[in-house]
């Protein structure tokens, strides 16, 4: 893999395409840090919640398409999720009380916990950017 390579995909903003989008992130994450299952699991989990937020909470059927942009660097992956639904900045969601074992309201916490940097810009489109750094450099 070269430096700063990127992947873009545009998918319908529907749950039926969730698994396809997640498989894309999972495969891309392995290019950054092959052999690190934790790295892949965590960025996949964060992306999964972000996609849920857009599709389920971002005005439902009016979301239309979502754009996924993946940037692969030597030691990190950045995933940008762009949508045209209702804005939701996961950085502003309150932290859950884990001791009470909440059944909902966990998505933003998972996003923040499993990534190193989160930025959000509302507008047309809304853009959520999540960066995760690998513990070591690329291994292939």
């Amino acid at each position: 893999m070269g430096q700063g390579e990127s992947i873009r995909a545009i998918l319908p903003g529907r749950l039926e395409y969730r698994d396809l989008a997640i498989r894309l992130i999972a495969s891309a994450s392995k290019l950054v840090h092959a052999g690190s299952e934790d790295f892949s699991n965590e960025i996949v989990s964060a992306f999964s919640e972000a996609l849920n937020n857009v599709i389920i909470h971002g005005a439902g059927s009016t979301v239309g398409e979502v754009e996924i942009e993946i940037e692969l660097e030597e030691d990190r992956i950045t995933v940008r999720l762009k949508d045209f639904g209702t804005a939701f900045d996961p950085r502003t969601a309150p932290a859950p009380d884990l001791e009470s074992m909440p059944e909902s309201g966990l998505g933003a916490f998972i996003i923040r916990s499993f990534t190193d940097e989160v930025t959000y810009t509302s507008g047309r489109p809304n853009t959520l950017s999540m960066t995760k750094r690998a513990a070591r450099g690329i291994s292939r």
Binding site: E16, R18, E37, N41, S45, N52, E103, L106, I110, F114
Partner: protein, 99 residues
């Protein structure tokens, strides 16, 4: 997602395979409701073939745990690995529901 339920005496084995997420969680909710309504006392949730879970899926498992606990039932989760294990650890559920 595929799931199955097997009752043996007071024990119930609930096996969930594949992906338990916002798309598939509604499919298993009626079974969860049935287990609670029947007041099953001992439920083992086998997630050894679960590949992926999200917060919606976690909500299903936690709902089962809490509702069963309310009438004195016990829910245990077995076989966590990979991405589902990472989520359970983050949410501090592995020590409560784990093996």
């Amino acid at each position: 997602m595929n799931f199955s339920r097997e009752d043996t005496g007071i024990e119930t084995a609930l096996t969930i395979e594949g992906v338990l997420d916002a798309l598939t969680a509604p499919e298993i909710r009626p079974t969860i409701d049935s287990l609670v309504q029947e007041k099953r006392l001992s439920i083992r949730v086998d997630l050894s073939s679960l590949r992926m879970i999200d917060s919606s899926g976690v909500g299903v498992i936690v709902s089962l745990y809490k509702r069963c606990k309310a009438f004195g039932g016990v829910v245990r989760v077995d076989g966590l690995h990979g991405q589902p294990l990472a989520i359970f650890k983050l949410l501090r559920l592995d020590r409560i529901l784990g093996e």
